[in-house]
Amino acid sequence: MATDWTRLRDQFPTLLQQVNGKPLVYLDSAATTQKPITVLESLRKFYVDDNANVHRGIHALSMRATDAYEAARQRAARFINAADPAEIIFTRGTTESINLVAASWCSANLKKGDVVLITEMEHHSNLVPWQLAVARSGATLKYVPVVGGDAEGGLDMDALDRLLTPEVKLFAFTHVSNTLGVVNPVAELCARAKKVGALTLVDAAQSIGHIPVDVGALGCDFLAFSGHKMAGPTGIGVLYGRKALLDAMPPWQAGGGMISMVDFFETSWKPSPERFEAGTPNVADAVALAVAMDFVDSVGREAIDAHDRALSAHAMDALADIPGIRILGPRRGQPRSGLVSFALKDAHAHDVVTFADQDGIALRGGHHCNQPLMKKLGLASTSRASFYLYNSKDEIDRLAASLRRIVKFFSGE
C-alpha cells in the first residue's frame, strides 16, 4: 500500500506554520527532526497522569512510571533487534553514549601501543571523546581517509585494510555521514574489524530514524543514537552494547540507582543497564522515545529510506545546474542518504541560510561539527539541506528557486 506522505506531514504541528510570511520548509532534520503529535501527547500524558520517580517505588504512580520506563527499554531493544533489553542503556543522546564507552571501556581496556581507529567523516562527537581517551591511556588515534576532492568516494576501503592491524582495539565510525550523505557499509566494516579482534562502535545518529538498523545483522559491539533525530524528544538517547562487554565495564558516573551495596569505603555495582544509569533517569523522554519508535515503525523504515533517497535524488537533479555550486559526497546517481550539503562560489553559507530563511526555508550553514573534514576538503563551511518523511519534492523545488535567487543576488548578474 502506498504511503500517504501528506497525511503523515499533518501529524507534525510544528510544520503547520509560516516563517517570514511563507509556509515553513523545514530542511534541517539532520540537526533535529520535528515531532509527531503522538510523541508530544505522550510527554504531556506522562507528566499529567504517571509522573513519579522510578525503581524502589512501591506506590501506584512509581510502579506505573517504572513499568513505562522499562517497557521503553524493551521497545528500544526491539527497535534495533538487540537480544536483551539489558543491552539498552538510556543516555542523553548519541554524544553521551559515545562518551560513556570512551570513558568506561577505554579506561579499563586501552593502553599504550593500542590504536583507536575512526574515520575522517566523523562528527566531532565521535572524534573528540577518542582524542581524550587516547590522551589518557597513551594509545594512538588513527583515521580511515575519505576518497576524492569532494569525498565522493566514501571511505578508502584499501586504506582500511592497511590500518586494521592487531593493535586496533576499537573501530568507531558513523553509519551515515551528517555532512556527506555517505551511507557506510556497516556490516562489512564490522566484519573486517572483527578479523583483527577490534571491537566496533557505530554512530547511528543519522541512520536510526531513516533506515533499518539491526545490531545482530550489522555485527557491531556498540551502537549509539539520539531520540531527537528520529521524531522523538531531545535529551534522550541509547547506547547499545553487547551484554558481556557491558557487564565487564566499570561505571563512569556514580550515584543512586546503579549500586548493589554501598559500604563506607566500598561499593558494588549493579549489572547493566543500571550500572550506567546513575541518578534519576529521563523517564518522560524515554517513554516518549518508545512512542516515536512506534511512529517510525508504523511508517516503516524501508519506506522512509526510499522516500529519503527519492528526495535526495530529486535534490541532486534540481541543484545540479545552479551556477557555482559544489556538492559534497556521492555524485548524482550514486546512493545517498537524505541530505545534500553544498557550497556556492558567490555566496557564503551564512548568507545562504539568512537568505533562505527569508523564503521560509530552514537550512543549516557551518562546519556541521566536521571541522577536520571540511579543512581537508578546503572549505570553511557549507549549507546543508536534510530531509525526513514530511518533506516533499515541491519543497526541494522551492529550495532550488531560492538558491537561484541567492546566486543572482550575490554575483550581481
Binding site: 517570514n20 555566496a347 557564503h348 553559507a349 551564512h350 548568507d351 539568512t354 537568505f355 527569508q358 550553514g365 557551518g366 562546519h367 571541522q371 571540511m374 570553511a380 563551511s381 543576488f409 550575490f410 550581481g412
Partner: protein
C-alpha cells in the same frame, strides 16, 4: 525581499565583491586575528601604527558577505585615525548594528544598520572591528565573537 536588501545594502555587496585593503601588510607593526569558531569565519587585521595614528591598515580572511564587507569598509574608515578615534568609531558602529539607528553625520558604516534586524549576524559585522581593536591594544590573542 525588502528585509534582505536592508541587510545587504549595495555598499555591502560592493565591498564583498571588491574588498578594499585586502591582503597582508608587510610593514605592519600590529596584527590580530578574529575568529568565530561556530561558523568558521576568520579575519586578520594588519596595522602599521605611526605614533598613535593608523598609517596603514589591511585585512584578510574568509567568511560571509557581512563579515568581509564590514572588515573592508572598516579599513577605509580607520586609515589616518588615532587609536582613540578608532575606539569611538567602533562604539558608533556597534550602536548602529545593534539598534539600527545611525547618527546623521555617519555615512558609509550606516549601511550596516540593517544588521540589527538579524541578531544572529551582529557577530559577523563586528568580527573585523574586534580584531582591529585588539591589534591596536597590542593583544595578540585571537579574539572570538559568538
Amino acid at each position: 525581499m525588502s528585509d534582505l536588501t536592508d541587510l545587504y545594502q549595495q555598499v555591502i555587496l560592493d565591498h564583498n565583491r571588491r574588498p578594499r585593503n585586502r591582503g597582508k601588510l608587510p610593514t605592519a607593526n600590529r596584527v590580530a586575528r578574529g575568529e568565530n569558531p561556530t561558523c568558521g569565519d576568520q579575519c586578520s587585521v594588519y596595522v602599521r601604527l605611526d605614533g598613535d595614528r593608523i598609517a596603514e591598515i589591511t585585512f584578510d580572511g574568509s567568511g560571509c558577505a557581512i563579515s568581509q564587507a564590514s572588515a573592508s569598509l572598516m579599513t577605509t574608515q580607520l586609515k589616518g585615525r588615532t587609536a582613540a578615534e578608532a575606539e569611538e568609531l567602533f562604539k558608533t558602529f556597534h550602536h548602529i548594528v545593534t539598534s539600527g539607528e545611525a547618527p546623521e553625520e555617519i555615512s558609509d558604516i550606516a549601511a550596516f544598520a540593517g544588521v540589527h534586524a538579524f541578531p544572529a549576524r551582529i557577530k559577523c559585522a563586528t568580527l573585523g572591528w574586534h580584531a582591529a581593536l585588539n591589534a591596536l591594544h597590542g593583544d595578540p590573542a585571537p579574539v572570538h565573537t559568538e
